[in-house]
Point group: none
Chain length 216, copies 4
Amino acid sequence: MAEEMNIQSAFQSVMAANQDIPPKQKQVLAASLALFAQQGFANTTTKQIAARAGVAEGTVYRRYKTKDELLAAILAPFMTEVFPRLIKEFAQDVVSQPYMTRHEMIESIVVDRMAFIQKNGAILRILIREISVRKDLRSQFVSHAAPLLQDNLFPVLDRLKARGELVDWPDSRIAQFMIGTMLTELFRRLLLSEDDAAAVSVIIEFLEKGLAPTTK
Amino acid sequence: MAEEMNIQSAFQSVMAANQDIPPKQKQVLAASLALFAQQGFANTTTKQIAARAGVAEGTVYRRYKTKDELLAAILAPFMTEVFPRLIKEFAQDVVSQPYMTRHEMIESIVVDRMAFIQKNGAILRILIREISVRKDLRSQFVSHAAPLLQDNLFPVLDRLKARGELVDWPDSRIAQFMIGTMLTELFRRLLLSEDDAAAVSVIIEFLEKGLAPTTK
Amino acid sequence: MAEEMNIQSAFQSVMAANQDIPPKQKQVLAASLALFAQQGFANTTTKQIAARAGVAEGTVYRRYKTKDELLAAILAPFMTEVFPRLIKEFAQDVVSQPYMTRHEMIESIVVDRMAFIQKNGAILRILIREISVRKDLRSQFVSHAAPLLQDNLFPVLDRLKARGELVDWPDSRIAQFMIGTMLTELFRRLLLSEDDAAAVSVIIEFLEKGLAPTTK
Amino acid sequence: MAEEMNIQSAFQSVMAANQDIPPKQKQVLAASLALFAQQGFANTTTKQIAARAGVAEGTVYRRYKTKDELLAAILAPFMTEVFPRLIKEFAQDVVSQPYMTRHEMIESIVVDRMAFIQKNGAILRILIREISVRKDLRSQFVSHAAPLLQDNLFPVLDRLKARGELVDWPDSRIAQFMIGTMLTELFRRLLLSEDDAAAVSVIIEFLEKGLAPTTK
DNA sequence: AATGAATGAGATTTCATTCAT
DNA sequence: GATGAATGAAATCTCATTCAT
C-alpha cells in the first residue's frame, strides 16, 4: 500500500519540523524524546538530557528557552502536522473507494495506524501522559483533533452506516473503540515487553466484528 | 445486583486499608489522591497536599515518611486488596453459573467493572500513569495481576472457548480487549468531560460481538 | 524638636512593616539591605545574602518568593510609609507656624531630613540606584512622591513666596534644589568616606541664601 | 562662546579615544553605552549588546576581551581625557580674567558644564552608578578628580574668596554644591522626562546667591 | 500530635566567554 | 574578522524533608 510509505515516523517528523537545526540540538531533541517517553517529562532533568545528548547543560537551553518549550517542540509538530496528515491520508484512500466494506475500511485504518503507533509509540506515550496532566494541552489537543475526525473520519463512518455496513452508534463512540483498541496494544507492550506480530490481524478482526451492525 | 454493593469505591478502600488513622491523616490521603489524579504525582508538591488537606506541611509527614510512601499508601491497598477482591468476586459469581453465555459473562464483568472504574477513576488514573513511568511498580503490578487473571479470569474464558461461546484467541489478548475497552471510557471522559449513561450497554455489545467466535 | 524622635530609621520601618517576621527572616532582610546598598541589587547573589544572614539559601526564599520581592520588601514600605510620614510630619510642623521665615522653614526641613538621610542612607542609595534602572519603579516612585509633595510641601512654598520670603521659581524647581542639595551629602560621603558634622548648618545656609527672593 | 564648541560629547570622545576602530566595534561600543545607561551595566547582557549593535555575540569580544573591558573602554577615556580637558579648559578661561566676579565665574562654569552634562548624561549616569558600586572605580575616580579640582578649580575659588566674592567654606564643599546642583538636573530629567530650557539660568542664580559670602 | 520555619540538595535557568567554521 | 553554536560555572529557585517549639 503506497500510503504506508507516506507515514513517516513522528520522530522524523519532529526533526523535519525542526529543520536546519544544528546536530547537537537534534541530539537534545532526541534525548528529550527518549527520556520523556521512558521516565515522564516531570521526572526527567535537563542534566539527564544533556548527558544523554552528549552536550553541556547550557546547550539544552540554546534553542529551547525552557524545559516546557522542549516538550512543545516535540509535541507541537506531532499534533499540528503528523497527526493531521495521518488522518487526511486515510480519508483520501477511503474516499477513492466509495463501496468499501467494513472490513476494507477497518483494515485500511488499522494496518497503517498500527504501523504508525508502533513507530511513534514514544511520542504517543508522552502525549497521552501529558494530556492527562495538563489542562491546556488537553484542550489544545481536543480542538485540534475533534475537527479532523469530524471532517475526515466521521463522513466515512456515516456512509458505511447508511449502507448498513456499520453499527449505528454515535461516531465518537466508534472512534473511541477503534482508537482505544489500537492504543491498548501500546499498553500491552509496556507491561509485557513482548512484540506480537499477530496483533494487527487480531485487532482488525475484533473491531470488524465488534463494530458490525446489530443483528436482530 | 448484590455484588455491586460489595464494590466499594477505591478511596473508601484505601481508607479502609488505612484504618485507625487520625482524621488529619485521612485528609492528607484524600488530598494526595485528588491532586495526584488531577496533576500527576511528580507535579504535586507536599505543600499543595498540606494546603488542600488543611494541615501543616509537617503533618503530611507524620504517618508517611516520604512522598513515595504516600503514593504507596494509595496504590498498595488498591493493588493488593481492592483489585484482587474485584476479580475474585467476579470469579465466584461466574463459577456458580457453569452454563453462562458469552453475553452473560461479559455483562457480568462489564457492569460491575465499569461501576468500579467510574468510582475509582481517580486511583486508576494515578496507577496507569505511574505504572508507565516506574519499572518497579510495573513489575509489581504484573506479578500481582497476572496470577489473579490466570487463576480467576482465564479458566472462565477457557471454559467458554471450549463451549464455542468465545473466540479462540489467547486469554491475554481477550483480557486486553476487555480491560482496554473499558478503560477507553476513562480516557474519553477525560477528554470530553461528559458522562454517557449508555456507555455500559454499548461496551457490552461491542465486546460481545467483538469476542464472538469466528464464523466461517 | 519632638518630631525628630518620630523619625525612625528606614530600616526599623522596613522591619516594622514586616512585623511578626521570624528572626531569620529579619536577618535575611537586614543582610539584603546591607548588601544591596553596598554592591547593588544586581551584583548581590542570594548566596551572599544567605551567608551574611547566617541562614541556608532556601531560607532566603521562604517568605520572599523571588529576589525581586526581596527588593520590594525593602523599598515598598519605605515609599508607601516612611517617606509619606516624613513629609507629612514636616507639613504638620510648618502649618502650625503660619509666620515662618525662610530660615525657619529651611532649618525645619533640613535638620530633620538630614537626620533621616543619614540614618537611612543605605535604603536611599538602593532606591536611587534602582529607580534609575527600572522604569516601573520610577513611575511608581513618581506617582507616590508627586502628590505628597504637591499636597504637603508646595502649599508651604507658595505661602512663603506670597510673603516674599522665597524666590519665585516653580515649586518643583525649589524642591529639586532642596532635596538635591541634601542628597549631595550622601554622594560626598560615599566618595570621601568622611563625616562632617558641620554639613547640616552649611546646607541650611546655602539653601537659605540660594532660595532667597531675587533682589533687583 | 568658543569653548562650548570645544566640548565634545562624551560619546564622541569615547570614540575619539578609540580611534582606528572598525565600524562594527564602534557599534558595539555605542550599543553598550546606550544599554548600560538605560538598564545599568549588570542588567545588560552581551547578547543584548550584540543585538543592538547588529553583530554576532562573538564579535562583541573581538576587541574587548571581557564585559568589564567594555565598561572600561567607555569610562576610562571619559575620566582620563574628557573630564580633565573639561576642567582645564575652564581654568584657562578663568585665569585669563583675573578680576572675575562670582557671577561671571559661576556662569562660566555652569553654562559649559551644563551643556556637557546634557550631552553626556548617558555616560555620567553610568559613571555615577558604577562608582557607587565599585570600590576600585571609586578610588580611581577620586585620585583622578581630586588633583584636577585641587589644581584648577580650587585656586580660582580661593582667589574669589580672598576678594570677598565667595562664601568662606572649604573648597570641597563649594565644589560639592556646584557639581551637585548641576547633577540634580540629570536626576530631575530622569524622573520627569521633561526638558527645561530655563534650567541653566535658574541654576546659575541659585548657585550665585547660595555661594555669596555671608552678610552679617 | 501538629505546626510551620528552616534546610540543603538538586533542578532550572542565565550568561560571560570560547571556539570551530 | 565575523559568526553563532557551544560551554560550564554560577545564579535563581524549588521542594521533599527535618526539627524546634
